[in-house]
Symmetry: C2
Subunit: 202 residues, 2 copies
């Protein structure tokens, strides 16, 4: 039997340092465009030292993605079938927008992975994600059927929330180039509130 030793302070600190650095680099350059030297430098470690904590570049990336998907889906899980339909959907959109504001790098890491064909996460998309979306789509459909909101295609409604909110993180450079660098999130919230209020009104 191999006895799993407890994690050292140093281990915990350095693993955290590495994941933070890797998030910074992977979210900017994608998996293939990032190098271990870059990540190690960003973390203030040497490359062999980094590889002492993770067995490979792939392993670092995987650990980031695995941790991410769960957090990313939390706002969707929180939609309450018993709540007020319009408020539930608006609330979901607002939570997603807040995540784009607070965690733009995580959003871009995810976007990079999907853009490149989701090679390391496709199974989770077809499984975990699809199951959750199917369940919540049912909820939305039943709201529409009961006349509590307008009749909208549930999946495409969810797509719209994803794309509209994540756009402000993923395309941040473009948004700022066009707006001339005023913080766009306040107006975004206002615009999206207005949009979904109108879309869902019976």
């Amino acid at each position: 039997m191999t006895q799993a030793r407890a994690e050292t302070r140093i281990q915990r600190k350095n693993k955290e340092l590495i994941l933070e650095a890797a998030l910074e680099v992977f979210s900017t350059y994608g998996f293939r465009g990032s190098t271990l030297d870059q990540i190690a430098a960003q973390a203030g470690l040497s490359k062999p030292n980094l590889l002492y904590y993770f067995p490979s570049k792939e392993a670092v990336h995987k650990e980031l993605l695995d941790g991410l998907l769960d957090t990313w889906l939390d706002p969707l899980r929180a939609i309450d079938p018993e709540g007020d339909p319009t408020q539930e959907i608006l609330g979901y959109m607002q939570r997603k927008l807040e995540m784009s504001r607070a965690y733009p790098r995580e959003s871009r890491l995810f976007a990079n992975e999907i853009l490149q064909g989701a090679p390391r996460i496709l199974d989770a998309l077809k499984g975990e994600l699809k199951d959750l979306v199917d369940a919540k789509s049912q909820v939305i459909k039943s709201w529409a059927d009961r006349g509590l909101i307008a009749d909208v295609h549930p999946q495409h409604l969810l797509f719209s929330i994803w794309s509209l909110t994540q756009h402000y993180a993923d395309f941040e450079v473009q948004v700022e180039a066009v707006l001339g660098d005023e913080g766009p999130f306040d107006h975004a919230q206002e615009f999206l509130d207005h949009l979904y209020t109108r879309l869902l009104k019976r």
Copy 2:
């Protein structure tokens, strides 16, 4: 005086071949994640042969992006200040959606570039793109001021059209994973028509 020689048939054919291959590769892996060997193989040429037609990897990428931005903005340019406001905006959205359907690789090439901080295209975003957006925003604002459409933030309206339409190209893998691979564009068109009709109605 350097006399610019006319372009050979072979030159035209091979440059086209290379750009087509480069679009395929760059749009999937981003600039840093793509290799000249990959592109050359995709084009059916050897790497030195490719470098006979383009001076560097950078040059191939730049030529793709330069050609793209223009085409990409055409639908926005086509918005007619004299037309029916709702129809003009709906028409713009439909043209953009059609571009996502017909040219998903171009959309992903662009998305990759922006995601990575737009290092090779930022000037065009702050210049050409911003100028055009400013002009069209004025048009939209005047429509709203005259009460021809609902009062919406023009720039965020344009952002919404970009993100909602490009989502179906950029996140194609995810959309198909969730929907189970039925062609999503028909329902998308229906959903977006509905959304913008409601949003703009006075």
